[in-house]
Symmetry: C2
Subunit: 379 residues, 2 copies
């Protein structure tokens, strides 16, 4: 695994277990450059609005790789990644009303927010206006609803249990495949929320929706946009993903390396969800938008993209960004996916395989497969 930016990694050792905490097993990286290993962390004891879940599965997201290997810098070590958690509720605080012991639940990328700003009120806590949401891992506990030691960084789902405020619980529909459900709370919502925000989830109009980048996110996007009743055009650098995209539901395909293919689709798309996670020609995607169209950036690209503003002006086009989704949309997303039988293609792996998976994700994700950790059966 290729760690980066070691000089700006942050050492944040876990303090001794407090009286209001319990010890738990997790899989994490102790210091920048170390291998994954089983480590002991502390979780808050359940009180008030807190809910404890015994973990069953945790999806492995490409973002886990970026943070664990300090690709952006500023990772707090030890890190326990994982923000696609699925488990069963084993304990609830006295104020909890939404779930009870035995409930099957998920937790996504968010574990706290201010709960009082305009965005939190709207259920869009992912855009909390008071210092931002608290991420499920590698965040500081700034909003005060998390219990336990407030000076510890948040620690994610590669662990035998998790404890969160009930606000951040997604209730899983009865009968859902638990392993497949895990990636819905990150990969799923990342695609669902922009479709919802830009009007695709609730319209009688058949939109032309482009999905750029046909990996794990892209294939979810194709399935979701199709299930919402739209024409879906997959966009990839070459023809090699055409078959995969069509199998998932795309009715059109643009190979951006082929000018003829690009021309055929120019000025045709109402919305493009762009999952490409590496530097690329953003303006060629803008050219595919029709008047009033929006290109939504979803992939973390470190290098700024050159944007020609005249091309935006000529068709009142927009380039926007979107980051996961709020708790309201997250519950809608899981319910929608269950109803329409939409899941990522997954491969279940054991905790001993984490490094193999990370190496595969560092290379590329040409298959579109999401890896899911079987926590319950990992030793």
């Amino acid at each position: 695994m290729e760690f980066r930016n070691k000089e700006i990694a942050i050492s944040a050792p876990i303090p001794p277990c407090q009286d209001d905490e319990y010890k738990e097993d997790a899989w994490g990286v102790e210091n920048c450059g170390d291998s994954f290993q089983k480590i002991t962390i502390n979780r808050p004891k359940v009180t008030g609005s807190l809910v404890k879940l015994k973990m069953k599965y945790c999806g492995i997201c490409h973002t886990d790789v970026h943070f664990t290997l300090n690709h952006i810098g500023g990772t707090m070590y030890p890190i326990v990644p994982g923000h696609e958690l699925v488990g069963v509720v084993t304990e609830v605080g006295s104020d909890v009303t939404r779930v009870s012991i035995g409930s099957l639940v998920a937790v996504g990328c968010t574990v706290d927010c201010c709960m009082q700003c305009e965005m939190c009120d709207a259920g869009e806590d992912n855009y909390c206006q008071n210092g931002g949401m608290t991420g499920t891992y590698n965040s500081t506990k700034k909003h005060g609803h998390m219990g336990g030691n407030q000076d510890t960084q948040t620690l994610g789902g590669y662990s035998k249990s998790q404890v969160v405020h009930e606000r951040f619980i997604v209730i899983l529909p009865e009968g859902i495949d638990l392993a497949k459900a895990a990636p819905l709370v990150c990969a799923g919502i990342t695609m669902f929320d922009p479709l919802r925000h830009w009007g695709a989830a609730d319209t009688d109009k058949k939109m032309n929706i482009g999905i750029a980048g046909i990996g794990g996110l892209g294939t979810m996007g194709i399935k979701l946009a199709k299930a919402m009743g739209h024409n879906v055009v997959a966009i990839s650098s070459s023809d090699s993903k055409r078959q995969l995209a069509e199998e998932k539901g795309a009715s059109g395909f643009v190979a951006t390396s082929d000018p003829k293919s690009v021309n055929e689709h120019s000025n045709s798309l109402d919305l493009i969800l762009n999952t490409i996670p590496a530097p690329h020609d953003v303006m060629s995607l803008v050219g595919l938008l029709r008047t009033n169209g929006t290109l939504v950036q979803l992939g973390v690209v470190a290098v700024p993209a050159p944007v020609n503003q005249f091309a935006l002006m000529m068709g009142r086009k927009s380039i926007a960004g979107s980051l996961i989704g709020g708790m309201k949309a997250l519950q809608e997303c899981v319910d929608f996916c269950f109803k329409h039988d939409i899941y990522p293609d997954i491969e279940i792996v054991d905790a001993g395989e984490i490094e193999r998976v990370y190496l595969a994700l560092e290379k590329s994700n040409s298959s579109g497969i999401r890896y899911v950790l079987d926590i319950e059966n990992s030793a």
Copy 2:
């Protein structure tokens, strides 16, 4: 005057006057590199839905300078610029219903469109989907509603008369100052339409609206946004425009060269109309937007701007573009400006002064003044 790109200028001599045309005086540039001079052009004789106006005033827009001096390349010579026309109707075709002889009217940047696509139907003919709108000058006559020789480029408002289809006529409110009204149909609509499109024209919510670039467009933007009931924050590179901006109605001011000033306003604006017509740091403007905010690019900047998409993602922010406005918004704009007594600060000039004005505009427009040609009194 500094002409550019001479190797890609287009020579398009005006053909002899046809039977369905009449000869008219105009001020234009015959060949790329020439001085302005009085030239003879042809206008279509009035039939059907055409309306002839005797010109009174024509605003001089910075875009006139770009096209006349071939800054972008592809200018068709001879060129007669001018897309802020005000005059009195002197002849109407038999099918004309909207105006009659004596009506005081304006014509803006658009003189033809397909009249049948979705955007034209919505009155947003500036975004015509069938080959685009026909510009008032330096355009080809592609849509067939213009009369006269169909192979001539369009010729603008620095001329004693103009003839257009009645669809492209703006009816001026009785009592409006005609010279001041001229710039409303370009500078005014350029600012009015994005305010309207992004929800500022018709809301009970007091928005925080940034206006970047405090020249002719910027000062109009301040006045319009204020009259719509919003808080207006002027954005300029240094403090030198603060007084001007406050006089026009800005209640806040950001000097982008001062980090303290930028920090004070970070994440605060719902909408920024960006009129800066030269390369600048677009991302510093994005930083001023709050969650869900939109930066609207209105200035023609030839160099692509580096855009960091993570900054867009973190606050679901957008960078968009807008180009003038459609006929529906144009009439609304003129009526709104008349009602609220909003006009640019203008200086009336004579046709003999065009080159002086162009030299001034090539340098900068620190005063925010719009120049208006007094056509009627130019010899």
